[in-house]
Amino acid sequence: MRHHLSHLDQLEAEAIYIIREVAAECEKPVMLYSIGKDSSVMLHLAMKAFYPEKPPFPFLHVNTTWKFKEMIDFRDRKAKELGIEMIEHINQEGVEQGINPFDHGSAYTDIMKTQSLKQALDQYEFTAAFGGGRRDEEKSRAKERVFSFRNKNHAWDPKNQKPEMWKLYNTRINKGESMRVFPLSNWTEKDIWQYIKRENIDIVPLYFAKERPVVERDGNIVMVDDDRLKLEPGEEIKHKKVRFRTLGCYPLTGGVESEAETLDEIIDETLGAVSSERTSRVIDQEAAGSMERRKREGYF
């Protein structure tokens, strides 16, 4: 234990160690970039890990075409500012078939996210992909290794994970297999926010409360980001001061009514939170174990 290192210093050191190990040992790594706050922290850590070098791997954004506009603007601005390689992947088959979150439900998530991610990883032959997943997010994630093995079909076998001892990560894979690597495994939502504040990390403005056009649907507050969102009978667009605790596809990401306009206010709200963050993801409420099922099938 290093008594002079703060809790955040320890988490930062651990994440940087992991990121450097991947760069040193894995053949063709990529960092998944979802534009959310966890991705922003992970990108920031990658920039720090290799300084004065740039990160020696590209970044990949799997675009479902249903992301908030502000997210895409932010992504393009950051990539340019930092001088990093940003790959965008869209499942064109899905687009051609008109797959959308309103008509296709969980099939949409599978086709535009899970399948799309697999397509991208196969196409570029990436052997290791960093993800911003944290163990405090969900029960099955709480059991996942930092270096998480995927077979040729990108599937995770939770009953047969390889032991992971100390910092001696086993990065060995055979051809066609790959790794998912989670440098933020041991961070909590609170750690993420405190680190964003400490490091002054740029995040998408959607995290801050602002008056936005929304509709209420199935108990969730959904933002009307463009005219593809069709109002159902009885629904009306309201302007409410909301913010988002997680970012994803706008029709699937519930906002929360909030007055938190600054990082400090967000942190206060988070520390006093009575609801863990994934409840604002609509798809999670289906059934206990839904996340594990999706992960086994290759969802990140």
């Binding site: 969900e138 032991p163 992971e164 001696l168 099922r293």
Partner: protein, 608 residues
Amino acid sequence: MKGLLKFITCGSVDDGKSTLIGHMLYDAKLLFADQEKALELDSKVGSRGGEIDYSLLLDGLMAEREQGITIDVAYRYFTTDNRSFIVADTPGHEEYTRNMAVGASFADLAVILVDATKGVITQTKRHARICALMGIKHVVLAVNKMDLIGFDQKRFEEIKNDFLQMTYGFNLESVQVIPVSATEGDNITKNSENTLWYDGKALLPYLEDIEVEEDVDQEEFVMPVQRVSRPNHTFRGFQGQVEAGHIKVGDELITLPSQEKANVKSILVTDHEVSEAGAGQPVTVQLDREVDVSRGCVITTSENIQVTDMFTATILWMDDTELVEGRNYLVKVGTKLLPGTVMSIKNKIDINTGKEVPADKIFKNELVECDISLSENMVFDKFENNEALGGLILVDRVTNMTSACGVIKHELRRSTNVVWQDTDVTREVRAQQKGQKPLTLWFTGLSGSGKSTLANEVEKRLVATGHHTMLLDGDNVRHGLNKNLGFKEQDRVENIRRIAEVGKLMNDAGLIALTSFISPYDSDRQNAREIIGDSYIEIFVSTPLEVCEERDVKGLYKKARAGEIPNFTGISSPYEKPENPEIEIDTSKYSLEEATDYVVKEIMKYLD
């Protein structure tokens, strides 16, 4: 506020680990409302009736819920007013011991549970032993299900004593034994009314207070190199995490295994330039000169970090297939990954007793002591000195499974012709350690021929050139080892036999022995040659009798001529000249320096 505490819960299945942590989080109001709701919901459909089943909070995998057991480690994060915690809840089934070890390698403290109705059982011992192996120094024994034995203090004390006896010798810094009930909540977050006889803290307050930090700041600086950063021609930085000690700009470092010295030119902690850095920090270090350093090398200020291609380790075998002697694996220590072979399985460690027992075959979840030989040199330290350079994993080269984890006990050196099925440290190993070929340089010749003077000079030369030697002088040995022997023929035979045996022992120890005895009988010298074997080098100091008698350094010839010394070689007892000595020198023809030059030159032929 105290620093982060990483701890694990372990113990046998159904001892109530998940329930304990679940209850702790629930009572300490550390759950989010929706998790609490989900917990109550899950409990209703679960198999344990309508009561809240706290273990459902942690048993996250579907298979675990179905079987009601914990397969893999679950990590939980919580913060009280006093401390932040990461708890790894580990599986109790023997089948999943390797997952328990994963948790143990991560933690600073272990909460080991026992069922009060069962006491300390094999699985308790297995887990305690693995915790100790993985370097955990602080242990809490939670004696659970106290409610089922009516909070019986006597039974509690028995279990406590069993555990303390078992862990004696584990090198633990603290052990606390607490009576609890995970389902009822006794002594979890506050002291229970049911155990007024218990005067220690309840579990959570104990965990909030305990000090587990080790002061690694005072140690020598150690940094295994993760990667070399070369963004341009002017910058070459070594990136890694400082594992111990600290450095400042200007400090002199040693690179390993290349053993070069260089000074620190600049230090970056992440993207900040700093003048010094310490343990735990991610750094990029530039040195003031070109050195041969790449990933897997170590930069350090320590003189004690070792470089070897063979070591002895205690490992936990984690693969479903058996451990086979002579199989090749990839060995990872620090940031170095190398092919290596498990050369010999020395023994396995009995989980119950901790005793070493002979082992033919090693199966999953067994603790084994073995020798591992590497394809090239690797930088390491004993695990007890430095976890980062003393922990290892073995990776199967075909399946890529992490087949074993372990800790390095000590190094071994390889010899060119050692048969390693023989597990003993051999004569060759010791010789290799000294970097020389052991010889017995047997100086023979008349009294006064100059044997001792010459042997003395030769030894000085050998030592000066880095050899390890031992001079056995006739007169000196007679004062100690052979003081019960006289000068009759049978005593002289025994005298020489003993000297030869001692020479052989010296050779076995890797030393070059020099013996200086008259040893007049051919049969005795033959005997010595047989005892000592190939290492025997006979040096006949052939100075003529007249010269010896004229020198008469000790006045012995005079006494012998006067009949005062019976059986004096050359006078009243024969000297049988060696027929084919390896080296012959007549000191009457050369100066001491010339004679020494000649003999050393001849010896070198046998040393190469």
